[in-house]
Subunit: 198 residues, 2 copies
């Protein structure tokens, strides 16, 4: 039905997350009929990014530089380190705008059932960073789910004999959310972590 | 927040239809962290497709060949021509599997308000095809909306002095649909186009 090369393009577009056969076909037709210059730019930028973007040698964030702009920014507070499970989490925290310390980006979370252990997610590199930097507090911002909790507790265990403040981001009701739509687990956490007003 | 090259990749991904800033970031991180081989294949295939895929010289379908596989298939019925508004519509009809004639793919539909006239959508090439081929019936399968109707009536007008059967695809309730969810315009068409059962 599609010409062989068009079929190949549609299949290649399916490597994108969330793109099924219908959207891939729609994207291919759109690029070929309406936006060839955008498609050429995408092809070039993708090749350039693959050749140049790796991980920051210190925090493992995605960057084309040896050391990322956060790690090499003298204004960042090098005594606080925030551990996250993916680059997207780092961007979400940066966008919130109130955190001024350093980061460490794990490659996901521990998941023994999938054979994902400490070596696979970068725990060794995290330990190296902590040895080489004057970190005083580690904030574990791993995802608030079973794997994220397990990973946070595992890291806390490894660090328990070091002279570090270790914290976990608070669970609770989202700001601006409605209680009615908050799940029970989150509500329990919100009650257990309640703060005195006076 | 993102490194300059990562930001450039995210912007490039936004040329894809339906991809906003959040999905573009998600796609960029996924490709760089999880699927570099898929990303490399996408970059290469996109470049190859842009260099090679053009329009069939006869029906204007997307193809890397001079004449597409439908136009060059001796088994297709060359006396019937179906006019559609986009390659996606051609694929939808081919997938339905019952049509065996030729196609002509217009580049969208007439839209005087947007300055889109007959020359812009390929009406001249359609007339050339009809002069050069033994077509006996033209099926106007333009979209069932205002622009599609206007385009179909415009083409029917151009062809009125030629010895051709000209038809428009039927409007009506979708097979398997529930009347309750069918819009009023479609329901009116379904009543006006009702068929005798005996
Ligand atoms: Zn860094
Ligand atoms: Zn053709």
């Amino acid at each position: 039905m599609h010409s062989p090369l068009l079929e190949q393009l549609i299949q290649s577009l399916r490597c994108l997350p969330g793109v099924g056969p219908k959207s891939a076909q729609r994207m291919a037709i759109y690029l070929l009929e309406r936006n060839r210059s955008g498609a050429a730019r995408l092809s070039d930028t993708l090749a350039l990014a693959l050749d140049n973007i790796g991980r920051c040698e210190q925090c493992r964030a995605l960057t084309e530089e040896v050391r990322c702009r956060i790690c090499s920014n003298p204004a960042r507070n090098k005594s606080i380190l925030c551990v996250v499970g993916s680059p997207a989490d780092l961007y979400a925290i940066e966008q919130a705008g109130s955190y001024q310390g350093l980061y460490f980006v794990l490659s996901g979370h521990l998941s023994p059932i999938d054979g994902i252990g400490p070596d696979d997610i970068g725990i060794n590199e995290l330990m190296t960073l902590l040895q080489q930097n004057p970190v005083e507090e580690v904030i574990l911002a791993n995802n608030p789910n079973v794997e994220g909790d397990a990973t946070a507790y595992y890291i806390a265990g490894l660090l328990k004999d070091q002279n570090l403040v270790i914290s976990r981001i608070a669970h609770g009701v989202p700001v601006g959310g409605e209680l009615e739509y908050v799940d029970g687990g989150t509500l329990s956490h919100a009650f257990n972590g309640r703060q005195l007003l006076r």
